[in-house]
C-alpha cells in the first residue's frame, strides 16, 4: 500500500503506528488505557500498521502489547476504505483521507470516525447477512410450498424490544463520543503562544492576516510545527468578503464555512512539517474548483525567519524599477497591495512577498516564469472566470512586470 512520505527537512519526529492512535477512544470505554491516551497526544506522526518500525519505542513507556488487539481490525478497515489506486506524488502529501491525521483536532476526529465506522460496519455485516440468509432460506420452493402455511406472525413484543433497545444503546454511545470529541475540539484552551490568523475567503482566493504581526499574505498559510514540549496552536478566524466559502485541510482539521457577516473560528496544531493541500469546500461560483489553499508547516526557527521577512516592506533591486513603474502605471495597485509602494488595493491578493510563493492563482499552477508569463498575458486563459481582467500588456511591459514580481521576495 503506497503511503505518504515521512516528515522532511530534518524534522524531529517521534512516531507511533495507526493502531495505537485508536487507544484514546477505546480507553474512554474500557478505562484501562488512560496511560496510553495521555502519551498519545503530542509529538508524533502516523505510520501504517504494516510499516511499523521500532520507532514506537522512542515514545517512552509505549509498548506494542499495551495497545488494544483491535489494531488489526483498524488496519483492515483502513485498507478497505483506502483506494488501491492511490499513488504517491513526491512533493505534496498526496493522499488525503481522515485516516491520516497529523494535527490534534484531526486526530480526535479520526478516533471518533473509526469508532463510528466499526459500529456501522458491524451492523452492516449482521443485517446484510440476515437479509441474504432470510431471502435464500425462505424462497418459494415450488407449488407444494403454497399448501404449507407460513407462520402467522403479526409481531412479537419480546423480539421487537430486542431489536429496539440495542440501537438505542448504540445511539447513546455514539452521542457520547460525539459530544466528547466536539467538546475537546471546541472547548480547547490554547496552551503556549498561539498564532492568530484572520482568514478571509474571496472569490476565488484566500487572504491571511497575521493579526499580531500585521502581516498580510494570500493562499499559502505558513505556520510553525507544534511540539508537545513547545505547543504552538494556530487559531484561525474565518470570514468572507463575498459568498460562503469553506476552509478545509483534511489532514489538519475538519472543514468550516467562511460566511459573510459572521465569523467562525478553527484551530490547528500540526505535528509534522511539510506542505498540506486543501481547498474551498462550499460551491462559490465558476472557479470554485480552483480555489485551493496550502498550509506550509515549518520548523519554529524557519517560521520565525519567514515571519520576520514578511513583516518587511518590499525591497527590490533597482534593475527591476521599470517593472515597478509598470505595476503602478497599469493600475495594478488598485486591486493589489505591495507594502512599501503606493499600491494598496485590497480587492486582490497582497503581493508584497509574491516571489516566495509556491503557486499562482490560488494554487492553480506552480509559480514559475512561464506560468507567470501566461498569467500576466491573460489570467482568464489560466483561470477562466477569475476576477483579474486581461491587462492587454505588450511584450516589453510584460517582461518588466515579470522581473519585478519575481524579485518580490
Amino acid at each position: 500500500m503506497p503511503y505518504r512520505t515521512f516528515a522532511k527537512n530534518g524534522a524531529e519526529v517521534k512516531g507511533e503506528f495507526l493502531g495505537g492512535c485508536q487507544a484514546p477512544v477505546l480507553a474512554r470505554f474500557v478505562g484501562k488505557f488512560r496511560a496510553v491516551e495521555s502519551r498519545c497526544r503530542g509529538d508524533r506522526y502516523v505510520l501504517p500498521y504494516w510499516r511499523l518500525e521500532p520507532i514506537y519505542d522512542s515514545v517512552p513507556g509505549l509498548r506494542l502489547r499495551q495497545l488494544p488487539r483491535f489494531s488489526a481490525l483498524f488496519a483492515a478497515a483502513y485498507g478497505l476504505f483506502s483506494s488501491p489506486l492511490m499513488a504517491q506524488t513526491e512533493e505534496v502529501r498526496s493522499v488525503q483521507n481522515i485516516f491520516n491525521p497529523t494535527s490534534t483536532p484531526a486526530q480526535l476526529i479520526n478516533d471518533a470516525g473509526l469508532l463510528t465506522m466499526l459500529i456501522c460496519l458491524g451492523i452492516f455485516i449482521i443485517v446484510t447477512f440476515l437479509l441474504f440468509f432470510g431471502v435464500w432460506r425462505y424462497r418459494r420452493r415450488g407449488s407444494e410450498d403454497d399448501t404449507l402455511e407460513p407462520p402467522q406472525v403479526y409481531g412479537s413484543t419480546a423480539i421487537e424490544l430486542a431489536w429496539t433497545v440495542p440501537p438505542i444503546m448504540i445511539v447513546i454511545v455514539l452521542v457520547l463520543v460525539t459530544a466528547r470529541t466536539v467538546g475537546e475540539i471546541q472547548n480547547h484552551q490554547p496552551t503556549g503562544n498561539p498564532i492568530r490568523v484572520r482568514v478571509v475567503g474571496h472569490r476565488f482566493w484566500w487572504e491571511y492576516q497575521y493579526t499580531d504581526d500585521k502581516v498580510t499574505t494570500a493562499n499559502e498559510l505558513n505556520v510553525p510545527v507544534s511540539y508537545l514540549s513547545a505547543p504552538r496552536p494556530v487559531e484561525l478566524t474565518l470570514e468572507s468578503a463575498d459568498v460562503v466559502h469553506g476552509f478545509w485541510v483534511p489532514e489538519l482539521s475538519g472543514k468550516l464555512q467562511a460566511v459573510p457577516n459572521h465569523s467562525n473560528s478553527l484551530w490547528l496544531q500540526p505535528s509534522v512539517q511539510g506542505t498540506y493541500v486543501g481547498n474551498c469546500t462550499v460551491l462559490c461560483g465558476e472557479q470554485h474548483a480552483n480555489m485551493l489553499l496550502r498550509v506550509i508547516v515549518r520548523s519554529p526557527d524557519d517560521f520565525q525567519r519567514w515571519l520576520d521577512n514578511e513583516k518587511k516592506p518590499a525591497q527590490t533591486p533597482s534593475e527591476v524599477d521599470a517593472g515597478r513603474h509598470q505595476f503602478l502605471l497599469s493600475s495594478c495597485g488598485s486591486c493589489h497591495a505591495i507594502k512599501g509602494t503606493e499600491a494598496s488595493g485590497t480587492f486582490g491578493p497582497d503581493l508584497t512577498h509574491f516571489g516566495n510563493r509556491e503557486t499562482l492563482g490560488s494554487g492553480v499552477v506552480k509559480n514559475d516564469e512561464s506560468n507567470l508569463r501566461a498569467w500576466l498575458r491573460n489570467p482568464q486563459a489560466v483561470k477562466p472566470g477569475c476576477l483579474m481582467p486581461n491587462m492587454q500588456l505588450n511584450e516589453t511591459q510584460l517582461n518588466n512586470l515579470l522581473a519585478y514580481l519575481k524579485a518580490l521576495k
Binding site: N97, E160, L238, G254, V277, N279, T281
Partner: protein, 590 residues
Amino acid sequence: MAQTLIHAAPAEVHSAHAHHPELSFFRKYIWSEDHKTIGLQYLFTSLFFLLVGGLLAMGVRYQLAFPNVPVPIIGGLLPRWLVQESGAIAPAGYNALFTMHATVMVFLVIMPLLIGVFGNFLIPLQIGAPDMAFPFFNALSYWLFLLSGLVILSSFFTGSSPAASGWTSYAPLSSHGAYSGAQLGQSLWCVGLFVNGLASIAGAMNYITTIINMRAPGMRMFRLPLPIWALFVTAFLLLLAVPVLSAAAAMLFFDLNFGTSFFSASSYGQPLLWQHLFWFFGHPEVYIMILPAMGLASEILAVFSRKPIFGYKAMVFALIAIGVLGFIVWGHHMFVSGMNLLLSATFSFSTMIIAVPSAIKTFNWMGTIWGGSIRFTTPMCFALAFVSMFVIGGLSGIYMASTPVDLFIHHTYFIVAHIHYVLFGGSLFAVFGAIYFWYPKMFGRMMNETWGKIHFGLSFLFFNLTFFPMHNLGLNGMMRRIADPTQYDHLRSQQPINVFITLSAFGLGLSTIPFLINFFYSMFKGQKAGMNPWESTTLEWTVPSPPGHGNFDVTPTVYNGPYEYSVPGMEQDYLPQNQPAPETARIAAH
C-alpha cells in the same frame, strides 16, 4: 371508529357515479378530475423528467471522468453556457449541470413519482373511496406541478445559464446574479420551486382530508395499508415544510430582482438565514422522499412473502416518529457552518435518534420475509433491493450525524454516495418496484417479467458500481461540486476511479431502456391482467383493472387488517380486506 361524512349515504354516492354522463375527451384526459387519470398524468410527466435528470447526470459524470475533453459528436451543438469553444464542458456549465440535475430529480422526479403518482392512484383505491376529497384541487395540483416543471425546464433555453449555485442555492452566491452568472436562471429556479410548492401543498391538503374523512366503513386507521400511512405522514411533512421553502424562494427572488438584502453579504443580510430556512425544509424533504418508498416496499414485501407484515403498529409508529423527528434535525446539514457546541450536540443527538425507528423498520421488514414463502417477482426484487440499499444509505447517514466525523466528510463524495444510496437505491428502486406492482391495476395489463428482471439486474449492478466507489473517493478527500478533479495534486491519483464510476453511470443510464421498452410495450401488448394478479388483500385488487370511474360499484365494507396472508384454516391463502373471515379461519384480532 370514524364513520365518515361521505359514506353516511354510500348508496347515493354510488348511484351518482353509475349514471355519470360520458365525459368529453378534454375532461377525460386533459383536465381530468379522476384521481387515477391524474396519477397517470403524474407518472408520464415525471418519467419524462427522469430522463431529463438522467441526461444531466450523464453530463456531470462525463465531465468528471474526461475533463476538458470535447464532448464527442454533439459537442458543437451544445449551448454556449454549457461548453467552451473547444466543445468541452465549461466550469460554469458544469455547475449548472449538477444544480439542475439535483433540482429536477428532487422536485420533478422523486417527489411526484412517490407522492403524485402513488398518492393519487392508491389513496382512494386502498381506502375504499370513490375519489379524492377535492378532485378540483387534485387536478390543479397536477397542472401546477407541470407548470413548475416547464418553468424549470425553460431555464435551459434562455440563452444564459440556468441556476448554477447547487440545488441548495446557498446565498449570497445565489442571491447575486453576478456571483453565479445566472440571474435569469436562478430567478426561474425560484419561481419554479414556488409553483412546485403550491402543487405540493394542494396535494398534501387533499391527501390528509381524504384519508381522514373518506375511509370506507370498517377501514379503521389501524387497518390502513402501510403505503397510505406513509403518505399520510408525508402529507403532514409537506404541509409543514414546503411553505418554508416557498417563503425562502420568494425572498431569494426579491434579493435577486428587487434589491432587497435578506441573504446578501451587504446591508446586514444574513447568509446563514438561507441555510436555516433551506434545511428546515430540506431535512423533512429527505423523509418526504423516503417515507412513501418505505410504505410501498412494505406492501410489496408482505404480498410476495405471503405473510402478514411483521409489527404493523410498530411500523406505523416508526413512520410517525421519523416524521416528527425529521423536523428537529436540520442542523446536521450545518455543522460546518460554525455552529456552537451545545447546538451541534443537540442536533447530533436528535439525528442519531432517527436511527432507532429506521432500525425498527428494517428489522420488521426482515421479520416479514422471515419464514415466508418468497416469490421473486420483479417488484419483490426491487423491494428487497430497496431494503438492502436503504441499510447502506442509512448506516452511512450515521457518519453525518456524528459532528466530528461530519466535519471531515461534509461536502465530499461520501455525501454524494450517501444521498444516492437513499434516493436512488432507496426511493427510486421502491418506485420501480411499485410501478411493476401496480402496473396491472393502472393499465389492465402485466409488465413483462423477463424484461423486468433484466432491468432489475442491470440497474442494481450498475447502481452499486456507480455509487459505492464514491464512498471511497469521499474518504480520500474528493470534494463535491468541483468541475475538474485532475487539477488537484491529491486527487489526480483517484482519476481511474472517476473514469470507472462514469462508465458504470453510463451503464446505469442505459439500463433504463429495458424499463421504458417494457413500460410502453406492455401497455398495448402485455398479458391481460385479471382483477387480482398478485393475490393481494387490499381493496384496489377487488375492482376491475383498470377500475372504472368512481372505483367501487358498491362501497366496500372492511372487515380485516391489510395483510392477512396464508391465513390458517382457509382454502385461499389470502383474505381480502372486504371479505369477512370464514368461521374456520384463525386470524388474530385486528
